[in-house]
Amino acid sequence: MPRDRRIWKHPIIDFKRGRKVRFFFEGKVVEAYEGETVAAALYAIGIDVLTWSPKLRRPRGPFCMIGKCSSCLMKINGVPNVRTCIEPVSEGLVVERQREIPPIPETSENRQVHVEELDVDLVIVGGGPAGLIAAMEACKRGLDVVLIDESPRIGGQLVKQTHKFFGSHEWFSGHRGFEIAELLSKKLASFKNLRILTRTTAYGIFKDNVVGAACFGSTPGNYTIRFRTCIISTGASENYLVFPGNDLPGVIGAGGAQTLMNVFGVRPGERALVVGAGNVGLIVSYQLLQAGVKVLAVVELMDEIGGWFVHAAKIRRYGIPILTRHTVKEAWGCERVEGATVVAVDEKYEPISGSERDYEVDALLLAVGLTPDNRLLAQAGAKMVWLPSAGGFVPLRTVFQETTLRNIFVAGDSSGIEEATTAMVEGAIAAITAVESVRGISKEDEKYRKRLLKFLWGEYRASPVVRRAAEAKKKALIDPEKLEEVVRG
């Protein structure tokens, strides 16, 4: 195998790798550490190409690393199209790459699927910041709760956030994202009225308030969950950018790169170019440096840097140029990015010919925004509204986060792109309203919810940078007058 991309020394993170396990990759025995996923483990040992596109046979590598894209589909134990970025490694796993549309699996026996019907007060889909806080608030108040998450462990994108939160003490200011995830997971473990289903995909919301959920992997299950209330906190997926070569292995979502290096301790490459100078682009650039990756430049289409000044100043101190009014023209390479051409754009954002510059890089990270993942809500028939400033289609909702579907709530990025603190506050508001719907609301809770709303729409999002997001989400409110009433009155 070519090389080991694992990070063994990191200024902030102590990677707690599990015991060594061995599995088969196309007939060869390869080693990994328990806790890694198949895609992370293969990438760590230098396997860039995880699969080939079925029609044009173009090589594909990891992109999102959180189960939201289809860039890492492989055959595992005979089952094709497994999302290997969220499939944990285990002893003796048989992993193969796909080169075409797969035949029907030839697994000899039909595996026993655990079938279970549940009846709960609240089902939460998505165990990120919004979902975890919602679970905590609802459990504290005695609701029977099921929390579903596709990943092997809960925490959502908190688990890869290594920067310290600022904002309010109540919402973990001074803590790093992954610490918050650990803290919340520990707290939730103490609730007897909470059931957590990891590696489980909620595949639909059905007639008469039923969520269908399927657990994959070695212990497959199919759950029919009848609910009184439901919170959708399914997060977001990373945006793509259109340029020749954008599908080469090594072109990775900035978030995907964060998962690789901050969760699994795997370097996404040796020399990187980052596209997008919003907060994600700037933070990921700094984290790349921490992981020992050389960052050649940050490319930004707009005239100005979108992210916070502190982040920009930090990476400038390390001598990394931020090229505003530039974009990627193309990426090239054979089965892996070997370089990219950057070009300046004019005031109409059209490329200026002659301004091309080539960079020899093996990683091209795209930090060009997120799209809310609210497919479940759309499928269930919630009314959606197109709000580019919130990231795309978002569900209409009341100030209490209830969608146009009675007792179905939305919280976090799936309600419109923002950041983790907003997600947590929205999760709390949704959970308390769910409690209200199941058994009524106490005076204290009513007060608490009012305080949360005031914090969310007033004090917390007062700065111009987050104000924008709040203004966007206001347009998705069914009852904006109610907001006035709560915040001012």
Binding site: P54, P80, N81, E100, I101, P102, P103, I104, P105, T107, N110, Y203, G204, I205, F206, K207, V210, G212, T224, Q379, A380, G381
Partner: protein, 374 residues
């Protein structure tokens, strides 16, 4: 003006544009093109029906499908249909086959070995015999809709999406239609073809016409893509269910669930196990495939399961193309043909189409179709 940007409206525009100035044709669609029933359909095209009207019209439709596929350049596969039958169905299907043959549709009753050659992995114990329709085919609704729309625009036909017609407007004598009211204002029109699927009934009601059109919720799913296993669309007549492997390899499965007409089509948790149970009896590999998507739609049903075509008595200038009872996609080209002929020549050009006018319900001339699937 054509109200409705589904397969029927688009093909009507196509045949009209062959004969009149395309710039005088406007098609309006309340959502995006194909968003009603067309893009939700099962992709099958067949002429093996149980009435003369359906067989003759569908056979002509198949001829148009072939011609248009060549002319416009879209995918069409002649995979055929196989109706899997039990002992007790055989007598009826022998009769149907004779009827098909009489109108030039070469179906025949075949034995289990014949089916096993077409569909190698099928469990032969699950059926007694089959009816094979070699004329039937599959198209790709997405490609057809896209190709047609692009072509129509290139000829000068105006297509306006997200324009919802809320009512038709009659002139002061209340005899001729003269305009429609939409969410984007009133639009005048001399002739109006209402091909609006589930919305047709209300539009006709706005000019005092009562059409017996009832939407019936339907359920359908598609699996992940797998290497091609068989070509024909299979029908299990006993469970009223079908399966077909799409152009791209996913298995499309429709199966009947008890639903009320005019109920809302909502995803039901019991649909997927129901569909899987049926086809797992025929294919031992079926439990191993992964379902990718499951969606709902409507069959707009008429009392005799035939479409409503042609002009409306008492309201000049209004033409109907609706109530396909699950067969709108396959009928698309012939619907376009007869409707365009009615608008331009006052005659559908195919005699059997005249039997499908709205008046048949008040005159009690119903034609019963027995082979509605899914």
């Amino acid at each position: 003006m054509i109200v409705g940007g589904g397969i029927s409206g688009l093909f009507t525009a196509y045949f009209l544009a062959n004969r009149v100035d395309p710039e005088k044709i406007l098609l309006v669609e309340r959502s995006y093109i194909g968003s009603g029933s067309t893009l939700r359909c099962a992709t099958g095209i067949r002429a093996s029906f149980t009435t003369e009207e359906h067989i003759v019209l569908m056979k002509r439709s198949i001829e148009y499908w072939l011609e248009l596929s060549r002319e416009l350049g879209f995918y069409l596969r002649r995979g055929g249909y196989v109706w899997l039958l039990q002992e007790e169905h055989l007598d009826a299907f022998k009769e149907y086959s004779q009827l098909h043959n009489r109108f030039g549709v070469p179906t025949r009753i075949v034995d289990r070995e014949f089916v096993a050659e077409l569909v190698p992995s099928i469990n032969q114990d699950m059926f007694a015999a089959a009816l094979h329709d070699p004329l039937a085919m599959q198209a790709d609704p997405f490609e057809v809709i896209h190709t047609l729309t692009r072509f129509l625009k290139s000829t000068g036909v105006k297509i306006q999406e997200f324009t919802e017609v809320t009512k038709l407007v009659l002139d002061h004598e209340r005899k001729n239609v003269e305009a429609v009211v939409t969410n984007k204002g009133e639009i005048p029109a001399e002739n109006i073809v209402v091909a609006a699927g589930t919305g047709t009934k209300n539009l006709l009601k706005s000019v005092g016409v009562d059409a017996p059109l009832e939407p019936l919720p339907k359920h359908i799913l598609i699996t992940m893509r797998y290497r091609r296993l068989f070509d024909p669309l299979l029908i299990d007549w006993a469970s009223n269910s079908y399966i077909v492997q799409s152009r791209y390899g996913g298995f499309i499965v429709g199966a009947e669930l008890a639903e009320n007409t005019s109920g809302e089509a909502i995803n039901r948790i019991d649909y997927m196990p129901h569909a899987v149970r049926i086809w797992s009896k025929f294919f031992k590999w079926f439990p191993k495939v992964y379902i990718l998507r499951y969606w709902t739609g409507y069959y707009v049903m008429t009392p005799d399961h035939h479409p409503v075509y042609g002009p409306v008595e008492g309201v000049d200038g209004v033409y109907i193309a609706a109530g396909f009872s699950g067969h709108g996609f396959m009928l698309g080209p012939v619907t376009g043909y007869v409707t365009s002929r009615w608008v331009i020549d006052g005659d559908p050009g195919i005699a059997q189409a005249k039997n499908l006018m709205l008046a048949r319900f008040t005159m009690g001339r119903l034609i019963r179709e027995k082979a509605v699937i899914g």
